[in-house]
C-alpha cells in the first residue's frame, strides 16, 4: 500500500490499487398533503394507532382508490424544480410483496411510466465546487404502515396510519462518486423540496428517507455489482453507510470474492451494514398496471399554471445574492440552503455591507444559535438588529473585536447594538489626540524596545500596536493607531 497517495473523497486505496465508488440514491419524500394519496384519511404524524386509516387503506374488499389532486400537483412542481421532463400521461402499477404492514399485498407505485422523467440538479461541495447530478425519474407511490417489534416477545404490532400516505420517490442517476457528494445531493434535494413546499424535509420524523445504491470499481472500468442500503434518515448516516459499505466491497473483491446483489441495513450502533433480504426473492415484485386506476393525464396548460406558482429556487437565488450583495458563491450556497436563511439575510444586509453581513450571520450568528440549540426563526437577534451591528462596524463606531462583545450581549439581552455600545461606552476611539496620548504612554514605558525597533527589529511594531490597543481596552481604531504609531516612531 502506498501511503503517500493523495486520495480524493470517494476513493479507496486497496491492496491492488485505487478504487472509486459509484453511488445512486433513491429519496423517498413524504408529500405535505393533508390527506393520503388514494384515500381521505389524514396524513398527519403521531396520531393514535390506526385512527388515520380508511377502509381503502386497510385494503377491505371492494374499496377503490381515488387520487389526491394536490399530490399530483406537488409531484409536477417538484419535477419542474428538478429541471425534469414532465410526462403528461403516467401509469400506476402494483408492486407486489408480502409484509404485515402492507395490507393490500402490493404498493401502488409507478414503474414503466412515471409522472416525471429525466432531469438534473447542481450540487454544492464544501470546497466551493459544483457538480451536476442527473435525475433518472420521480414517481408517486404509497407509503407502507409501521411495525413495532418491541411490544411483545413473539408478536409484532401493526399501525396503518402511515399506510397510503403519498410519497415521491426521486431516483438519481449513478452519477455520485463520494459519500460527501451523496450528502450534498440529499441536502440539495431537501432544500428544493422545502422551497417548493412539496415536503417538509423533516428527516427525524421520516418525511425524507434515502436508499443508497453503492458499488465500487477501478477507474474507467464497468460498473460493479451494487448493494442497496435501505432507509437512511440522516445525512450523517448516509455518509457513514456509503463509506463503510464501499470498504466492505473492496475487501471482498480484493480477496477474490464476488459481491452479491442484495439489500442491506445500516446499523447505526456499529457503523456497518448487514444483509437484510435474501437475494433470491429481492426485487421480484411482479409489477403490473393497477386495474383500479386509469392512466393519469393532464394538459400542458395545467403544467404551465403550476410552473407559474414556482418560487425563486436556490440556484437562481444564489446567483442573485452573489450579484446583488457581492458575497462569495460558497457563502451564498449556505444562505440559500433554507428559505428562512435567505429572508433573514436579505433583511439584515439591506443597505449594509453584504460580505460583512454574510460573515457575521454564518460564523457568529449560526455558531451562537447552534451552541444554544435555537432555530433561526427564534433568534434573539432580529435581522434588523444584526444589520444595525454591521452598520456600527462599517462606519467605524466600534471595532470588529468589540462587535463580538456587543454581539454576545445582544444574544443575552435582546437590546439594540447602539444601546449596548452607549451603555458600556464601547465606541471606538478615532480621535488623533486621544490616541496620541496612549501612544506616548506606551513609548515612554518601553524605551528599550523603542531602541531595538529603531535599531532594525521591525517585528516589534506589532508589539506597540498591541500595547496601545490594550491600553485603550480594545476601543482604539486599529487603522489610526497603525498610522500614528508609524509617524511617531
Amino acid at each position: 500500500m502506498n501511503e503517500s497517495i493523495n486520495l480524493k473523497p470517494g476513493q479507496i486505496n486497496g491492496e491492488t490499487g485505487i478504487w472509486e465508488m459509484v453511488i445512486g440514491l433513491e429519496i423517498h419524500a413524504q408529500i405535505s398533503s393533508k390527506s393520503k394519496l388514494f384515500s381521505g384519511a389524514a396524513a398527519s404524524f403521531g396520531a393514535e394507532a390506526n385512527s388515520n386509516v380508511s377502509l381503502v387503506d386497510a385494503a377491505m374488499p371492494g374499496m377503490l382508490p381515488v387520487i389526491n389532486e394536490f399530490c399530483v400537483e406537488q409531484a409536477v412542481k417538484t419535477g419542474l424544480a428538478l429541471n425534469a421532463k414532465i410526462n403528461n400521461v403516467s401509469i400506476f402499477d402494483r408492486k407486489n410483496y408480502f409484509y404485515a404492514d402492507l395490507p393490500q399485498g402490493y404498493q401502488i407505485s409507478q414503474f414503466t411510466k412515471p409522472i416525471v422523467g429525466e432531469g438534473e440538479i447542481i450540487i454544492d461541495l464544501d470546497d466551493g465546487l459544483q457538480t451536476i447530478i442527473g435525475i433518472e425519474r420521480l414517481h408517486l407511490e404509497q407509503d407502507a404502515g409501521k411495525s413495532l417489534h418491541d411490544q411483545h416477545p413473539s408478536k409484532s404490532y401493526i399501525d396503518l396510519n402511515r399506510t397510503g400516505v403519498a410519497l415521491m420517490e426521486i431516483v438519481s442517476k449513478p452519477d455520485i462518486r463520494s459519500p460527501q457528494e451523496a450528502g450534498a445531493y440529499v441536502k440539495k434535494i431537501r432544500s428544493i423540496l422545502r422551497y417548493v413546499g412539496a415536503c417538509d424535509g423533516n428527516m427525524e420524523e421520516g418525511s425524507l428517507r434515502a436508499d443508497c445504491n453503492v458499488s465500487v470499481r477501478k477507474s474507467g472500468e464497468e460498473f460493479g455489482t451494487r448493494c442497496e442500503i435501505k432507509n437512511l434518515n440522516s445525512v450523517r448516516f448516509i455518509i457513514q453507510a456509503i463509506q463503510s459499505e464501499a470498504e466492505r466491497q473492496v475487501e471482498i473483491l480484493e480477496e477474490g470474492g464476488n459481491i452479491n446483489q442484495e439489500t442491506r441495513l445500516f446499523d447505526t450502533s456499529t457503523g456497518e451494514t448487514r444483509s437484510m433480504r435474501s437475494k433470491e426473492d429481492a426485487h421480484d415484485y411482479r409489477y403490473f398496471p393497477d386495474p383500479d386506476l386509469l392512466p393519469l393525464e393532464f394538459s400542458d396548460s395545467w403544467v404551465q399554471k403550476i410552473r407559474e406558482t414556482l418560487p425563486e429556487l436556490p440556484d437562481l437565488l444564489k446567483k442573485r445574492l452573489v450579484n446583488d450583495f457581492g458575497i462569495t458563491p460558497y457563502d451564498a450556497s449556505i444562505l440559500v440552503e433554507e428559505k428562512d436563511y435567505v429572508d433573514f439575510y436579505q433583511k439584515a444586509a439591506n443597505g449594509k455591507d453584504g460580505k460583512l453581513t454574510a460573515n457575521w450571520m454564518i460564523t457568529e450568528l449560526f455558531g451562537a444559535l447552534k451552541k444554544e440549540n435555537i432555530s433561526l426563526s427564534n433568534s434573539p437577534i432580529s435581522p434588523e438588529k444584526l444589520g444595525q451591528l454591521i452598520a456600527l462596524i462599517s462606519d467605524g463606531t466600534i471595532s470588529g473585536k468589540i462587535a463580538k462583545d456587543v454581539f454576545a450581549e445582544m444574544m443575552k439581552s435582546k437590546k439594540s447594538p447602539s444601546n449596548i455600545v452607549k451603555e458600556k461606552g464601547l465606541e471606538q476611539v478615532s480621535d488623533d489626540t486621544e490616541i496620541l496620548k496612549l501612544i506616548d504612554k506606551v513609548i515612554s514605558e518601553n524605551e528599550d524596545k523603542v531602541k531595538d525597533y529603531l535599531g532594525g527589529k521591525d517585528k516589534l511594531f506589532g508589539f506597540f500596536v498591541g500595547q496601545v490597543m490594550k491600553l485603550s481596552q480594545g476601543k482604539a481604531n486599529p487603522g489610526i493607531v497603525n498610522k500614528l504609531l508609524k509617524e511617531k516612531l
Binding site: 384519511a41 394536490f70 409484532s156 404490532y157 433480504r277
Partner: protein
C-alpha cells in the same frame, strides 16, 4: 397452442408459490405446471398480432382518472378497521413476529 415450448417447470411453480406465500402439495405441482403452460400458451396467441405501431394500453375505457381535492374526509374508525383482525391490542393489529 400446444406446439409452443413449455415455459413453466416445477422449479418455476415452486418460486411463484413462495412469492405468493402459497403452500402447494407436491402431488398437485405437475398438474399446476401443465395448467400454467396451457394458460400461457393460450395467451401467447396474442403474439401473432402485429402491434409494432400500437402504443401499450393501460386502460380500454377512454375515461380519464378522476381526481379528488386534498381534504380529510375519512378515518377515526379504528373499531371498523380492526373488526376482522384475528388479534388486536390497544388499537394495533397483532401478528406473529415478522422481523428482518
Amino acid at each position: 397452442m400446444s406446439n409452443k415450448e413449455s415455459i413453466v417447470d416445477i422449479p418455476t411453480v415452486n418460486k411463484i408459490a413462495r412469492l405468493s406465500r402459497l403452500n402447494i402439495p407436491e402431488a398437485s405441482k405437475q398438474n399446476l405446471t401443465n395448467d400454467l403452460n396451457n394458460i400461457l400458451g393460450f395467451v401467447a396467441q396474442l403474439d401473432e398480432v402485429n402491434t409494432s405501431d400500437v402504443e401499450p394500453l393501460a386502460s380500454v375505457t377512454g375515461h380519464k382518472l378522476p381526481l379528488r381535492s386534498d381534504k380529510v374526509t375519512d378515518g377515526n374508525i379504528e373499531d371498523l378497521v380492526l373488526k376482522n383482525a384475528p388479534e388486536s391490542s390497544s388499537g394495533f393489529f397483532v401478528v406473529p413476529k415478522v422481523i428482518e
